[in-house]
Symmetry: C2
DNA sequence: CTTCAGGTACGATGCAAGTCGTACTTGAAG
DNA sequence: CTTCAAGTACGACTTGCATCGTACCTGAAG
């Protein structure tokens, strides 16, 4: 039941290069954008993101996000929980999560 | 003399994915970190960064930074000028440049 | 003019990364 | 027990990208 938390780097050990590499991928960035937009920071299932990729690839992407220190993964055996490490990210890279809400370039509204 | 400015995306068209991809490379990030640290935003020569890579590769990296909209490249024919697009970056992605100063993870000095 | 340094263009190469197929594990439900 | 869905491990494939070698262009200085 309890579920064990798969390991990731400590807050002070977050590497900016790893973070940028993690956010460079469109699928991973969409996950992070969704997580950042939910201020309740509740735990989510990893199939709640509607990613148009196979589950093996999803496993890969969530692992990259975890190893970059951006999310926690809680292993329940036959399912998995995802939680944003908001406090750690804001402590080390303040303002980063806010950038994810900047939206697509040249939004449809020209002004 | 005047030197023509090689093209890049407009401020409103800056793409977050292209920016993260550009900053994912260590050499490009070091260039941006140096530029962001110089508040005078003066034009710099492109061999003033001491990059440990060949000049062909430097050409490639500066092109990536320019196409991501992070820098302007001014072509003088047989030399080139580099200038940070600070205002445009701050307008579209406020706080991004400040993140570059976050430094290496958990510096070896615990203090 | 020639020479030379800074920079670019094109191609080749090597490596990292995204993707998926197959097979296996885990835990819950019948 | 068996069945099933969620997830992982491993490997193969493919694409992207950083790097450099060779050749060429540009402008300034002799």
């Amino acid at each position: 039941m309890a579920g064990r938390n798969l390991g990731g780097p400590k807050a002070d050990a977050l590497d900016l290069g790893a973070v940028f590499r993690a956010l460079a991928d469109e699928h991973r960035r969409s996950v992070m954008t969704e997580l950042a937009a939910d201020r309740s920071d509740s735990e989510r299932g990893c199939n709640s993101f509607d990613l148009p990729i196979s589950k093996q690839t999803q496993t890969h992407h969530f692992r990259v996000l975890r190893e970059a220190g951006l999310i926690d993964e809680i292993d329940y055996g036959n399912r998995k929980g995802i939680r944003l490490r908001r406090a750690d990210i804001e402590k080390r890279f303040p303002g980063l999560l806010a950038l994810l809400g900047a939206g697509p370039p040249a939004d449809t509204a020209p002004r």
